[in-house]
């Protein structure tokens, strides 16, 4: 155990070191510690480089084309404890490495490195490593995930960033924060995940619904945010990260402390704070776009091979100002905003967070326990509680000025348990159950009719998955899951709306009390969903593999899709859910061909996702009030088809020069109407050139180009009557903005301060101060996106 921590610390302390040429090689043999038999299929990874090989039948391996004089190897085997080894390649001698045969310990004491066990062998997974997370410490989860091909984001300004995986977001993307499924009102387009990325050690993305143990409704995918795994070793260490930025004139800082003990006990505390003032577009200040954010977590537990437990608490509070100019009164204001090149409201830079704004607090408490049964497998049980409090403030008059327009409290209790039978290394069977109770409470003292009603939601789920290692080349996996969910809501409808929707015909029995102009109803909606997955991974030689996966997933509609009803002041639109909405069903086939070698590698991953009864929100018409006309955004269901491909390629041109290229391409069609789908991410091309010279204080210079094409396929605009013009005009609400190109520059260097390392970095995003608007930014109708930002970062590990 001591070994792990030493390595772990060494990993952090050692900046990557490279020599001049890339012709070195290293070879060796890997044997079982107990019976000295050679271990075939063990993975040998060169840490901090995208380089890995597996051992042959005789347990032998050779890695060629190494650049550095000293490298670090991570050696892992599915049935063994992984090991780290520092190697001086000038020694030229054959390495002999023995691994301890401990089933699955790997998972418990996973260490920072390039290789992680896949959640499911056949799904497409990408992991964002700590280095990248630290480099983007001032950003959000969505910003970090955008470094992965196939991921884009749905923004409301620069501070509210929702990850979009292969065109899908919100309830279709499950976010697991330390194995707890986030329940943070993910249904809203302007609700960002309540995650402090600074608590993460690793962020893994599973594209598609293959990872059934987390839920059956991940039509888009699963995001796993994993804190550092603790080693059983006496140690005390810490980390400070600080960032200062010019755009927003603020910054953020994180402090992390870890104490662990030989007997398996550990405790870790982490806190971070972020404060920014108004952001700036190249031509003007984006008035009222500041943010104040506090995050903290405390983790305590005992981690042993046979059994262990953990208690975890995390706190997240964010106060986000929303662009003043985006708060508008009616459709005429919207038309004016769209036609005007500038926001209607620009004031000098300031730090104040004024209305409109939102304040969200999220508490997460978790306790879990695991126990291994010899010759059988591992049992895990977990309970978690989450409390999400959301306030949204609008511009209001008189006494209501300081009162939020939306005040929702969402409380969720979840109990889950699973059992993994892994005694047979060829077949691993896992099954589990989940029960959840959720309560939403909308405070009536807002003086604004509830957009989301009070409700209780009950979920029950059960799953089984099987992973079958057919041969050294082929792994098959499959799984089945059933979920029951019931929403029991108490909702007030305006009588006029109840009748306009035809609910008085179809749902008359739901009315429990008549208040004259309003009706109190009690809809109880049950959903039975079945999901399943089947796939395989086949090795084509040492460096290449191919994966094929089919996933069926069903998702019950969320509270917003069913119940939304009313004027969304901050968006100047009337949003309407539909009581008749049923579960959507996705059939997705994904294929990935991947090659990884020293000199170059690629990944080509096409997919097709057919979603029956796809639930979408789009402008459907106009309603009149005394404030003028408002566009109505109604939820409806249709059959949709998403087709896309995510492509990556990299090449190590010279020992210090490397280039990486990424293309994300997706098309979305409404099969029923024959139209394009709304909010499909435009094609994106990312290219970066990286220069790394470890002999020069670990210097790393990266220049990155981001080209976002114009989305040429979008649903038709709607025609509205403008009282101001006294005529009908086309509301240009769906038309995407033009293509844009951004350049980013990042320079990083590391210094040794006695035993500790200080890393300094400068990052310039939007280097050329380009004026642009992004199709998936909801504020694109009102203002340009943010301009050049220079940030200075500092990392100190002690």
């Amino acid at each position: 155990m001591k070994f792990y921590l030493a390595v772990l610390t060494a990993l952090w302390l050692a900046p990557p070191i490279f020599a001049q040429d890339c012709t070195q090689s290293v070879s060796g043999e890997i044997i079982d510690f107990h019976d000295k038999t050679p271990l075939s299929g063990a993975l040998v990874v060169v840490v901090n480089q995208d380089l890995q090989v597996t051992t042959d039948d005789k347990g032998k391996f050779t890695i060629k084309g190494l650049c550095a004089s000293t490298i670090e190897l991570e050696i892992s085997h599915p049935e063994c404890t992984s090991q780290f080894l520092k190697v001086d390649i000038h020694d030229k001698k054959e390495l002999k490495i023995s691994l301890e045969h401990h089933l699955e310990l790997l998972e418990e004491v996973q260490v920072v490195g390039a290789a992680q066990k896949q959640k499911t062998p056949s799904s497409i997974e990408k992991t964002v490593q700590l280095g990248t997370i630290e480099r983007m410490s001032g950003g959000s989860l969505g910003d970090v995930l955008k470094t992965v091909s196939g991921v884009s984001s749905l923004n409301t300004g620069a501070n509210i960033v929702k990850p979009v995986i292969q065109g899908l977001n919100g309830s279709r993307v499950l976010i697991l924060n330390n194995e707890v499924r986030m329940q943070d009102m993910e249904w809203g387009a302007e609700h960002a995940p309540n995650i402090d990325i600074n608590a993460a050690n690793r962020i893994t993305l599973v594209k598609g619904a293959g990872a059934l143990q987390y839920g059956g409704d991940a039509i888009g995918g699963v995001i796993l945010i994993t804190p550092e795994k603790m080693a059983a070793k006496d140690s005390l260490y810490g980390k400070i990260l600080a960032n200062g930025v010019t755009n927003g004139r603020g910054g953020n800082a994180t402090l992390e402390l870890t104490k662990s003990f030989e007997n398996g006990w550990f405790v870790k505390a982490q806190g971070s704070y972020k404060r920014l003032g108004d952001l700036e577009a190249p031509a003007y200040v984006l008035s009222n776009t500041g943010i104040s954010q506090v995050g903290g977590s405390l983790q305590i537990g005992k981690n042993n091979f046979k059994e262990g437990w953990e208690a975890y608490y995390s706190y997240f509070d964010t106060d986000i100002a929303i662009l003043r100019a985006s708060h508008i009164g009616n459709v005429d204001d919207l038309i004016t905003a769209i036609n005007s090149k500038q926001p209607s409201f620009i004031s000098p830079f300031g730090y104040t967070i004024d209305n409109p704004s939102q304040e969200v607090t999220h508490h997460l408490i978790k306790g879990n326990y695991y126990k291994r049964f010899e010759g059988l497998g591992k049992l895990k049980i977990q309970y978690d509680y989450q409390q999400n409090q959301r306030f949204e403030y609008d511009l209001r008059r008189g006494d209501a000025r300081g009162i939020p327009s939306i005040d929702l409290t969402l409380r969720t209790h979840t109990f889950s348990s699973d059992f993994k039978i892994d005694a047979d290394s060829e077949k691993q069977l896992m099954f589990g159950v989940m029960g959840r109770w959720q309560n939403n409470e909308a405070d009536p003292s807002t003086g604004v009719r509830r957009l989301i009603p009070d409700y209780d939601k009950y979920d029950l789920g059960a799953f089984a998955t099987l992973e079958y290692h057919v041969s050294n080349q082929l792994i098959l996996d499959g799984g089945l899951r059933y979920d029951f969910s019931r929403i029991d809501a108490k909702k007030f409808y305006q009588r006029s709306r109840w009748e306009e929707r035809g609910y008085d015909q179809d749902f008359a029995a739901l009315v429990i009390e008549d208040f004259g102009t309003q009706l109190l109803t009690n809809p109880v909606l049950d959903f039975h969903n079945v999901s399943g997955t089947l796939g395989g991974k086949y090795k084509l030689g040492n460096e290449t593999d191919i994966r094929v996966n089919y996933a069926l997933s069903q998702r019950a509609p969320n509270a917003s899709e069913v119940f939304s009803e009313g004027l969304h002041h901050s968006a100047a639109r009337i949003e309407l859910g539909d009581l008749r909405i049923k579960s959507e069903i996705s059939h997705k086939v994904a294929v990935a061909l991947e090659k990884k070698s020293v000199k170059w590698g690629y990944s080509l991953a096409p997919y097709a996702n057919r979603i029956n009864d796809f639930i979408l929100l789009e402008p459907s018409g106009v309603e009149f009030t005394i404030r003028g006309a408002f566009p109505v955004w109604a939820y409806r269901q249709t059959d949709a088809l998403l087709l896309g491909v995510d492509a990556n390629i990299y090449s190590q041109w010279f020992s210090k020069w490397r280039s990486e290229h990424q293309l994300s391409f997706i098309k979305g069609r409404d099969e029923t109407l024959g139209n394009a789908l709304i909010n499909v991410p435009p094609v994106r091309l990312q290219n970066s050139l990286i220069y790394q010279n470890p002999t020069l204080k670990g210097l790393r210079v990266a220049i990155e180009s981001n080209y976002v094409f114009r989305q040429n396929e979008f649903p038709p605009n709607i025609t509205v009557f403008s009282p101001e013009d006294n005529s009908s005009i086309v509301l240009d609400i769906n038309t995407p903005p033009p293509a844009y190109h951004l350049l980013n520059l990042d320079v990083e260097t590391a210094f040794k301060l006695q035993k500790n390392t200080l890393t300094l970095g400068v990052n310039i995003s939007n280097l050329l101060d380009t004026e642009y608007r992004d199709y998936l930014n909801r504020l694109r109708l009102f203002a340009d996106d943010i301009g050049r930002n220079i940030s200075l970062r500092l990392k100190y590990i002690f």
């Binding site: 306790g367 326990y369 109770w437 009536p444 309603e623 005394i626």
Partner: protein, 183 residues
């Protein structure tokens, strides 16, 4: 022992889970506080009958459109003193929002848009900085004509402004058109 303690805490939490299960009290209805349902403009001539323009939308942001009524035509070459009242009639008794608008006069302004009518307007009341508010105004008619007049109330407009909606900005609280004739 530690494991047992853990089990115990799990049991406690599951008990909590059950015990905090909500009572079955029904939620209270929310009456929109800031909704404007009714705009009434009374145009009083120096002599003759007053003309009342009204737009009433009792379901606020509900599906029903406002009901717009005009009591009669305007007279040629006359001067009318206009008074605007803004109400929230979802509350009982109706809340007079005009008072709030007049209290926060530096953050509000009415605009009068006239098309087709041979008529002009002049602001009748102002905020402390002598910028127009416009809940009171004067309407002067000349020759017979027909057309419409649009009343727009802006919240947090730029003040002072050049009198156009485009320059004023802010958000629209009221936008109502009345078809009128001058006889």
């Amino acid at each position: 022992m530690k494991t047992r303690a853990f089990y115990f805490s799990m049991m406690i939490s599951s008990l909590l889970l059950v015990s905090c299960n909500n009572d079955d009290n029904d939620p209270a209805p929310v009456n929109e506080e800031e909704v404007i349902t009714t705009l009434t403009v009374v145009l009083t001539p120096q002599s003759g009958t007053a003309v009342t323009l009204r737009s009433q939308d009792l379901d606020g942001d509900g599906p029903n459109a406002p009901v717009v009524t005009v009591s009669g035509p305007l007279a040629e070459n006359s001067s009318y003193s206009g008074a605007i009242t803004v109400l929230n009639e979802t509350e009982s008794p109706a809340e007079d929002i005009t008072l709030e608008v007049e209290e926060e006069d530096d953050e509000h302004q009415f605009f009068y848009g006239i098309t087709g009518l041979n008529a002009t307007t002049e602001y009748g009341n102002f905020d402390d900085d002598q910028n127009p508010l416009g809940t009171e105004f004067t309407l002067m008619t000349t020759d017979a004509s027909s057309g419409s007049i649009t009343f727009t109330l802006r919240h947090e407009p730029k003040k002072p402004n050049d009198g156009t909606l485009a320059d004023a900005g802010g958000e629209t609280d009221i936008a109502v058109s009345f078809d009128l004739t001058i006889e």
